[in-house]
């Protein structure tokens, strides 16, 4: 990694999700030098785990393909995967950054032929599928993974599996001796786009995510629709593999709640509306959806999608925060207790699957960014003079949908460019 060249005129983009990719590519296509670091083995981030986007119901991988092509074609971008920023110090135009590079145990010779995966036996929870599925100890994160290069799970290093992987590789790409490395870079500006993690549903105790099989999260629901996902593209009840026909969507699961995340996560309303259409897609008229909400936040022109779903006779809206869920032990169904606040009707509704619309927990880390960086109580990076040339982008700046994240990332790229252009001016 000694070949990574960075100067005060280089822009560091942290996070290879849709926001980081956008910021990096847009800056690079303005002719700027960019280093893009991603903690995981592939770029693509959270959107790579989605089935469709609202409101167009188009496929995220389609946009990723374009972004990857722009990325491959652009010589101004240096991509580092399995790279984690551990410290940023300094001031605008002059930051020192420490980066920890975890070993992939697979070098650039890899042709993604898959021989190593076939050879290895050990299996682990597949992060890409939120652990709903197993993957091999040697694996390609997804078919869309970029770089298109396999990874060896560190847990098989030192086991016979590691040797099997090495022997299976005809091109000498498996290097079990690879070590962790630390990299020090000097850069002029930092675009921070480390995205979000779905809020831990187990913490929302009344909904029993940790106790009831048929209570799942919205992100897990997305994975079910992937033909190569944990359920082969079919929506099923975890408890018995049956097709759910009466699904409840619970909004603000962990959002707008002082016991959990105080902020509104913005995307969850639209996500649930979108997911009701998945049920339509799979079960036609047989599928009923009920959305339990406080306020439906289908902001601005995409409200017409909300109106469209409202027209669907199979979708019911109940203005109510569900109080608690009890399992019907006989059939694994779930009884939702609460009160419909419109006119006050008490209900105890039985559903065969419950989808928790969990919100976004910002991934902005503690103690990595320079002292004095303004990070608000919701753990988002504010746009503030005091932050020098550290710019939060996408869901590091607020709870944003993909479109606004990409928009915001484009803006962050310009702010970074202003800094490095100023530096260039000074350095001549």
């Amino acid at each position: 990694m000694s070949d990574v060249i960075a100067t005060n005129q280089t822009i560091l983009v942290v996070g290879g999700g849709i926001s980081g990719l956008t910021a990096a590519i847009e800056a690079a296509e303005c002719g700027k030098q960019v280093i893009l670091v991603e903690k995981s083995p592939t770029v693509g981030g959270r959107v790579g785990q989605l089935y469709k986007y609202f409101p167009k119901l188009c496929f995220p991988t389609c946009g990723l393909e374009i972004q990857y092509r722009r990325l491959k074609a652009n010589k101004n971008i240096r991509l580092l995967t399995m790279a984690e920023v551990t410290s940023v110090t300094g001031e605008s135009g002059n930051y020192n950054v420490d980066i920890k590079l975890s070993p992939r145990y697979v070098n650039e010779n890899c042709t993604a032929c898959g021989a190593c995966a076939e050879a290895v036996e050990a299996e682990f929870d597949d992060e890409h599928n939120y652990g709903m599925k197993k993957r091999k100890g040697a694996y390609l994160v997804s078919h869309m993974a970029y770089p298109q290069r396999y990874v060896i799970d560190p847990r098989i290093i030192g086991t016979p599996d590691a040797d099997k992987a090495r022997e299976a590789c005809k091109v000498g790409a498996v290097d079990t001796e690879m070590q962790e490395q630390n990299l020090k870079l000097q850069v002029g500006a930092v675009v921070w786009a480390t995205g979000w993690t779905p809020y831990d549903a187990a913490k929302i105790q009344p909904y029993g995510y940790d106790r009831f099989d048929n209570v799942i999260t919205n992100v897990e629901f997305e994975r079910m629709l992937d033909p190569f996902g944990p359920t082969g593209g079919r929506v099923v009840r975890p408890s018995d593999g049956q097709a759910p026909k009466n699904v409840a969507f619970i909004q603000c699961a962990g959002s707008r709640d002082h016991n959990h995340l105080k902020h509104c996560s913005r995307i969850c309303c639209m996500a649930s509306l979108k997911q009701t259409t998945y049920l339509r897609e799979q079960f036609g008229d047989e599928a009923k959806s009920t959305v339990y909400y406080i306020d439906i936040r289908a902001i601005d022109r995409i409200d017409d999608f909300h109106q469209k779903v409202k027209q669907d006779p199979n979708v019911t809206f109940v203005k109510s925060k569900v109080a608690n869920i009890v399992e019907n032990k006989a059939n694994g169904n779930l009884v939702l207790n609460g009160v419909d606040t419109e006119g006050y009707n008490r209900y105890a509704n039985e559903h065969d699957l419950v989808v928790l619309a969990v919100g976004m927990e910002s991934n902005v880390p503690a103690g990595v960014l320079p002292e004095g960086t303004v990070i608000n109580e919701h753990n988002f990076i504010e746009l503030d003079e005091a932050n020098g040339a550290i710019f939060g982008a996408g869901c590091s700046s607020d709870a944003l949908d993909v479109n606004r994240a990409a928009q915001n990332a484009t803006a962050s790229a310009l702010r970074a460019i202003q800094v490095v252009n100023r530096v260039a001016g000074l350095e001549g």
């Binding site: 105790q205 009344p206 608690n324 009890v326 399992e327």
Partner: protein, 299 residues
């Protein structure tokens, strides 16, 4: 293990010949076993519980608990206040927080206390439930090591109820599925009822007196769920829960044609038996519905 001392607030119901006298008795027994010394707060008074609000407004209620706190500071300086009754614990702990965060309450309470020449000093002692002492200061392991008579073969529903669970609860436990009674039951060699989904449902509390039918309906579900889980008995950390769930089973049977007859015991009773103490020391005679299986063990 060195002797542990606490400033003890027994509460009205655990006085001799009061509704939870048996609770106090068995608590004393386990304290002997576990080398705990309870120093009763001299001349403690009622906490007004959660039903005192109609007669006493905010300040009078707070003042009552403030008196106990002040007396504890004066006579049991430096000791945590420990209560066995959920209501006593909750009222005192709530008062502690209001006194600490609401200057006008603190001032008002101290004016009132001034009438009897005492006042609440700064740094109010921690106010804890006996269960917290057992879990945090003693620990399941130490408790397990005291077991001489494992409660083999007993299946027990851990009914936590409300006020030892909300709003404060026991550290590290969740509101909806606290596990500490189950862990306790396991520690004592018995089997807890898993997925006991009435575990934290309300028994009606004080409304058992004013709204008996409504409250008994709640109790019915609590008992039913315990039977569904195959429980031999129910264990609880709260006097109100114990009384409400135990003593009205006859009435409930009349109203609903059920055949309930399930013992409802305190964790302290279970522990006393498991620790090899006599039926008397475990206060088993205090069971309106005899806990036969425990009596047999205690023989």
């Amino acid at each position: 293990m060195a002797k542990r001392e606490y400033s003890f607030y027994p509460g009205c119901s655990s006085q001799s010949k009061a509704s939870s006298a048996n609770y106090l008795k068995s608590t004393k027994t386990i304290c002997e076993e576990l080398d705990i010394q309870l120093n009763e707060i001299p001349d403690w008074n009622c906490c007004a519980a959660s039903i005192g609000y109609a007669g006493g407004g905010e300040l009078p209620r707070m003042t009552l608990s403030a008196r106990n706190i002040a007396l504890s500071q004066k006579h049991n300086a430096g000791q945590d206040i420990v209560a066995t009754c959920a209501a006593c614990w909750l009222a005192t702990r709530e008062t502690k927080e209001r006194l600490e965060h609401d200057a006008s309450i603190l001032d008002g309470a101290n004016q009132a206390l001034g009438e009897i020449g005492i006042k609440v000093e700064s740094d109010i002692p921690k106010t804890r439930h006996m269960v917290e002492v057992l879990i945090e200061d003693i620990g399941y392991e130490a408790i397990g090591s005291k077991v001489k008579r494992p409660l083999d073969g007993l299946k027990i529903a851990g009914y936590v109820g409300c006020q030892t669970n909300r709003p404060f609860g026991i550290d590290g436990e969740s509101f909806e599925n606290p596990r500490y009674l189950d862990k306790m039951v396991e520690t004592l060699g018995a089997t807890p009822v898993e997925k006991y989904d009435k575990k934290v449902s309300c028994c009606g509390g004080a409304l058992m007196f004013s709204e008996p039918e409504k409250s008994q309906a709640l109790v019915k579900d609590i008992i039913e769920a315990a039977y569904d889980g195959g429980a031999d008995m129910i264990v609880t950390p709260c006097p109100v829960c114990q009384m409400n769930v135990e003593v009205y089973q006859g009435h409930i049977n009349k109203t609903y044609g059920t055949k309930f007859n399930i013992p409802v015991v305190y964790y302290s009773t279970l522990m006393s038996v498991a620790f090899g103490r006599s039926a008397k020391e475990a206060a088993l005679e205090g069971q309106m519905i005899r806990a036969k299986k425990l009596e047999d063990l205690a023989k």
